[in-house]
């Protein structure tokens, strides 16, 4: 039997889910994110049998991980955890890495202490849905003073249309511990609808050093991703978070990073590339709850086809958070005449002695740069690929993760090649 607190939370979430209508997100101006084409009733959680070895995992997962050495790996297909592998030496240090479902059974007190500490079922229909319906999930607990070298990997894969995947990842990194957590959200190309509604929460306790990367590539299927991700950083702790969005029919995500105590420091560098008719709507908040905290947020995106991408980034410094030093920048590059980008940095500052700056730009490929490269014998398509890659390089380089960097570069190159014709038409007409 699951402990009663979990049943209570699920029940509370279900109430919210049933009460709330399917939302539409509107902002002043032209931007609307609507779910009117989502046929929620036709989607359902799908269950799968576990697999016995890495090689038996879905091909897209195997490809994305490419034989890399990992400290741990949890793969969730649809609603089911199908694979769990953990470096056995981690248990000696007291590290727990298992599905959240099992953690609730095996470590009920520990889960209760942290579960949904910074997430709430009251945030809307889909946060409530993932809180009410999640299955599988992932739980990482690193006790204090533990260093884990290799990445700890969570994968959520959807490989059939009609799937509703409700996910929840909970991570706790103890005092002065160091680790690298990666979450991949992937799907092969398929025809039809699917939904990923995810909750993600990570707590970096005092003095810890944490790297975090999200890699999303839902392929060309009609995958809706409505997720909330939140990271809390404790005293003198540091977290570097790189979310990468490379595809999804419609993505609506809230990504928040909270410097919660003095001396906490965050880096938040994101990247997106949209194509076709994809719709991406990101809202990030850098919340500074105490003074003497620092932040560095840089987001870069590129758009082809008729895709739409909106990035809204808020710096929020609460009253009394003196000596906060933070900045936020967002850039978008349009590679198609029919693509639309929106970049909105904003500030809420409730205290006086802080340094906070922000800026946003939307740009296009510079024809002078293309000409310059072509005079060196480089084709137009290659020149554009190099320019886009160079544009993303400051973010990709910050991953400090060669396999993931290579994966991101390869996917971006593929998307540029696919968009070659529309990009060329666009540049030729300017």
């Amino acid at each position: 039997m699951p402990p009663s607190y979990m049943e209570e939370r699920r029940h509370a979430a279900l109430e919210v889910y049933e009460r709330e209508p399917v939302p539409t997100w509107r902002r002043s101006g032209f931007w609307t994110t609507t779910l009117r084409h989502l046929r929620l009733d036709e989607l359902e959680p799908r269950h799968y049998e576990p697999v016995g070895s890495f090689e038996e995992l879905p091909g897209d997962v195997v490809d994305a991980l490419n034989g890399e050495e990992l400290a741990g790996l949890i793969v969730q297909r649809g609603a089911s955890t199908i694979f769990t592998q953990v470096d056995p030496t981690l248990a000696d240090d007291g590290v727990i890495f298992t599905s959240l479902e099992r953690a609730v059974e095996e470590h009920p007190d520990l889960v209760e202490q942290w579960y949904m500490k910074r997430l709430s079922e009251d945030e809307g229909k889909f946060p409530a849905a993932s809180a009410a319906f999640w299955t599988g999930g992932a739980f990482l607990y690193v006790p204090k003073n533990v260093q884990i070298e290799n990445p700890i990997q969570v994968v959520y894969v959807i490989d059939e249309p009609g799937t509703a995947q409700y996910a929840h990842t909970l991570g706790v990194v103890g005092e002065f511990s160091e680790c690298y957590l990666r979450e991949y959200d992937v799907a092969p190309d398929f025809e039809g609808q699917a939904l990923h509604a995810g909750g993600f929460e990570l707590y970096c306790q005092a003095g810890s050093q944490v790297k975090l990367a999200h890699f999303q590539d839902w392929g060309s299927g009609e995958v809706y991703d409505i997720s909330t991700k939140r990271v809390e950083i404790g005293r003198d702790a540091h977290c570097s978070w790189v979310p990468i969005h490379l595809g999804g029919h419609l993505t609506k995500q809230t990504l928040d990073i909270i410097t919660a105590e003095k001396g906490s420091d965050m880096r938040h560098n994101g990247l997106y590339f949209t194509e076709g008719t994809e719709h991406l709507d990101l809202f990030t908040t850098d919340l500074h709850e105490q003074g003497n905290t620092t932040g560095d947020t840089v987001w870069k995106g590129a758009l082809t086809g008729e895709s739409r991408a909106s990035y809204e980034g808020l710096i929020h410094i609460v009253e009394g958070a003196q000596q906060t030093n933070t900045y936020l920048q967002t850039h978008s590059m349009l590679l198609s005449p029919k693509a639309k980008a929106d970049a909105i940095p904003s500030l809420i500052v409730k205290t006086d002695d802080v340094s906070a700056s922000h800026g946003g730009t939307v740009g296009e490929v510079d024809e002078d740069q293309v000409f310059y490269m072509m005079t060196r014998g480089i084709s137009r398509q290659e020149a554009i690929r190099i320019l886009v890659e160079g544009y993303f390089e400051p973010v990709i380089g910050r991953l400090e993760d060669e396999p993931l960097e290579a994966l991101v570069r390869e996917r971006i190159a593929g998307k540029i090649a696919a968009a070659e014709q529309s990009v060329e038409e666009y540049i030729a007409q300017r």
Partner: protein, 250 residues
């Protein structure tokens, strides 16, 4: 084997800049094209390279007998033409070394071996007295004027073109940088390369002696001669040419 320009007329937007230019640069020759600001020198360089902002309304460009008047810039590069830019573009996020490797590979069937590329790069950097750290920097980002011009000559050295057009490569250089760039050009010139040095000043020609000098005025080449013409121009200035041309026309 030559780069040949015949009766070239070029427009930018609605304005005619080149009004019938003939020029032939054969392999092994070094030509200087001189002229005051606005005479059309850079337009000629950009048109040779196929800059889409310049419209050829009449005339032809040949490289080794092949007509390239309408060719894309990358095809001209592959035919052996190179231009060192007066104002090279900045390519953020792309290191000098990566850019050079891509450019070298663009004209090869098989990509160059890492070792071979490395030793080629080192040799050329020694030649131009460039610090190895330089190649890790993003191309032209935050470069000084002299560094940009050296990066241009380094590209020329790596790509070994058959015909090189140096568009005001000497402008904005102090004497040390000018000497380094000139030494580089001198080291690369030879029977396998034809060079067209475009300049406002005679300064670079004290280091790189041209075989032929052409003077351009108002979109036309109005005087041609040997290297002594540069000396005469230095002494008498562009007004002298202007007056001579006016007198000739009268």
């Amino acid at each position: 084997m030559s780069l040949e320009i015949q009766n070239l007329h070029v427009r930018i937007e609605e304005r005619e800049i080149l009004k019938g230019v003939d020029l032939k640069v054969s392999k092994g020759e070094t030509h200087a094209l001189m002229g005051p600001n606005g005479s059309g020198k850079s337009t000629l360089a950009n048109t040779i390279m196929g800059n889409p902002n310049y419209e050829v309304t009449e005339g032809k460009i040949f490289v080794n007998g092949e007509e390239l008047t309408e060719a894309d810039p990358d095809d001209r590069a592959k035919a052996g033409v190179f231009m060192a830019f007066q104002y090279p573009a900045t390519i953020p996020g792309v290191s000098v070394a990566n850019f050079l490797r891509t450019a070298v590979n663009a004209r090869r069937e098989e990509p160059i071996k890492v070792k071979e590329f490395g030793s080629m790069l080192r040799a050329n950097m020694d030649l131009l007295r460039i610090d190895p750290e330089f190649t890790k920097r993003y191309l032209n980002e935050g470069f000084s004027g002299g560094e940009k011009k050296r990066a241009e000559i380094l590209q020329m050295a790596m790509l070994r073109p058959e015909f090189a057009v140096l568009d005001e490569t000497d402008s904005g250089l102090d004497i040390d940088a000018l000497r380094i760039v000139s030494d580089g050009v001198n080291a690369l010139r030879g029977p396998d390369m034809g060079t067209l040095i475009i300049t406002h000043y005679t300064r670079i020609l004290q280091y790189v002696t041209p075989d032929f000098v052409h003077i351009m005025l108002d979109g036309r080449i109005v005087r041609e001669g040997g290297s002594e013409l540069a000396g005469e121009l230095e002494e008498k200035g562009y007004d002298w040419i202007r007056e001579e041309v006016a007198a000739g026309a009268a």
